[in-house]
Amino acid sequence: MEERLRKKAKELLESGEVKVVIGYGWNRQKTRTSPVFITDAAEVDRLVWNPLCVNNLSIYLTRKFKDIQALGRPAIVAKGCDIRNIVVLITEAQFKREDVYILGMACEGTVYRQELWKGELKPEIMPTKCHNCDVRNPHLADFVVGEKSSFTPPEAPAGMVFDKIKAIDAMGQAGKWAFWINEFSRCIKCYACRQVCSLCYCERCITEKNMPQWIETSAHPRGNLSWNLTRAMHLVGRCTFCGECERACPVNIPLNLVNQKMIQVVKDAFDFRSGYDEKTHPPMIVFSPDDKDDFIK
């Protein structure tokens, strides 16, 4: 698969169809993958593909990365889950479909965190999203690399994240509050969750707007709660559960729980799942008279 990917990347760069291929490469020790930006066809051998390719590279397509945009039209190595983010970016008019060449990777799952890798992809080191993945065969791509996956996700989503959400739902109001206040208490306001998220592409984040100061910047309970809740709200109907924020969080706040819960709420209220169709607008930016209002309590 890696060879197929390199060959295609080489073709694209040589023909001038794209100016940069955004993909995965090895670190020095060849123990972790890290994003690479290939602009020279002679360097395509730096591209790798394996279950350690966890990063959602779609972030590099956003306007936060002006120096990458300056390189010219990109091709991006993307798993189905990453493509969902690309789809959301297109529906939100961040760029047009033709502005990016998608090298879709047929995927058999990734590791939850790279440090868990012991040379074999076992179910227990895969994140919940992979166990329930319905886009292992890329749903939107200019070129698909790899054999078609025959994996079918379970009828009802299952896995650790869903189990924990059920447990939290059962906690009652006071229990939920205590749970989250405790989790958010560790927040160090590094904003890694925001920075790693391709859907957090605002040039000025609400937390940086200080006239007035909407969110207190101190890492104290008030500031931490308002930051984490605000970010969750800003991702409603948009988040694809790619898991990057939780992976990036240096203090292990279980952000997947927040985001998956919001996804379930949106699914129930609007029968919408983000990132599947680049022609459908997300529910929070359209009004429909058929909208159920029963989520207002």
Partner: protein, 336 residues
């Protein structure tokens, strides 16, 4: 001569002695599936099988958020009150030899002509008890920056783990001696065999002198190498927050229109708003320029201006980076 020993079963005594005398006992504990420095009340919570705590213990001398003054705005004037640091014995057990060297770097900044007493008063009463490393991972690179598990500079008390899980105690400073004296009931004498220390392999392709010389030559600022190596940086600042020598902060007011507090909060040179002028001009417009600044700070500003170490090789920034931007790969490039 018999060694001074801190027996595992006497850790509880030490914790109780420090806390009982009004002090604060900090040690690595397990929290949310990570080993972190935290206040400890019971010795059983202390973890001994770890490489480094996730956080640097700098937060006990330079808290992430701290009030420096309180104010109330009244009809005809402002009532302004200074906050003073209450200095009390703070003991950090389980620092690693690499990070123990970071305090002199922080001190250089916080005492550069103007003395920041919020820092110095805390550091004056901080006792750093280092436990030499018997484990390392691929992110560790202390030996590449001229340190090692045998480095004792910066430690007040230096401990070697023994085969039986006890510690051989060596006092390095007056502060360390006074500490052991103050809590002598927790220490015993005896003989024990220390576990072998684990040295991370020195990265042969890195030459710190060459890195320093390249950075001094100002033409590198416009070198494309910065963009090429670091454009994957997403600007999250996690590296700066876990770094034992990063010291940048913001000063901000919080509260209502009538009363509030002025706070000193950690900030990071990796954020685009960090240097953004009111006019909209930003001297560091691109992320690679911000990353370049951090690297310069570590390998030029600190050593050249303050004759201190900007990087201690603890590897926290490598472990925490969501895009695995490895500072040693950049050091390698600048060693060519």
């Amino acid at each position: 001569m018999a060694d001074r020993i801190l027996k595992k079963e006497n850790l509880g005594k030490l914790v109780a002695s420090v806390n009982g005398k009004g002090g604060r006992f900090i040690a690595p504990v397990l929290d949310a599936r990570q080993v972190v420095f935290k206040d400890v009340a019971r010795a059983e919570d202390i973890v001994s099988d770890y490489i480094l705590a996730r956080n640097s213990y700098k937060e006990y001398v330079f808290p992430q958020t701290e009030v420096v003054a309180d104010f109330t705005v009244e009809k005809h004037g402002v009532d302004l009150k200074s906050r003073e640091v209450e200095a009390r014995e703070t003991v950090v057990l389980g620092a690693r030899p690499c990070e123990a060297t970071s305090l002199s770097s922080l001190r250089a900044i916080f005492t550069w002509d103007y003395i920041d007493e919020f820092y110095t008063k805390r550091e004056d009463t901080l006792v750093v008890i280092t436990v030499a490393c018997t484990k390392a991972d691929e992110a560790c690179f202390c030996t590449t920056v001229g340190l090692s598990p045998e480095t004792k500079t910066g430690s007040d008390v230096y401990l070697l783990e023994t085969e039986s899980g006890d510690y051989i105690v060596e006092t390095m400073t007056e502060k360390g001696k006074a500490f052991v004296e103050r809590h002598k009931a927790a220490f015993t004498e005896g003989g024990a065999k220390a576990k072998a220390l684990v040295m991370p392999e020195k990265i042969g392709t890195i030459d710190l002198n060459k890195v320093g010389a390249r950075l001094k030559d100002k033409s590198h600022y416009d070198d494309q190498v910065w963009a090429r190596l670091t454009r994957k940086c997403i600007g999250c600042g996690a590296c700066t927050f876990v770094c034992p020598t990063c010291h940048c902060f913001d000063i901000t007011d919080e509260g209502t229109a009538f009363a509030g507090e002025r706070r000193k909060n950690w900030d990071a040179c990796q954020y685009d708003t960090f240097t953004l002028h009111a006019s909209g001009h930003n001297p560091r417009h691109y992320q690679y320029q911000r990353w370049r600044n951090r690297f310069m700070c570590k390998f030029n500003f600190y050593p050249e201006k303050f004759a201190s170490k900007g990087c201690v090789g603890c590897g926290r920034c490598i472990r925490v980076c969501p895009v695995r931007l490895d500072i040693t790969e950049v050091m390698e490039e600048f060693s060519r």
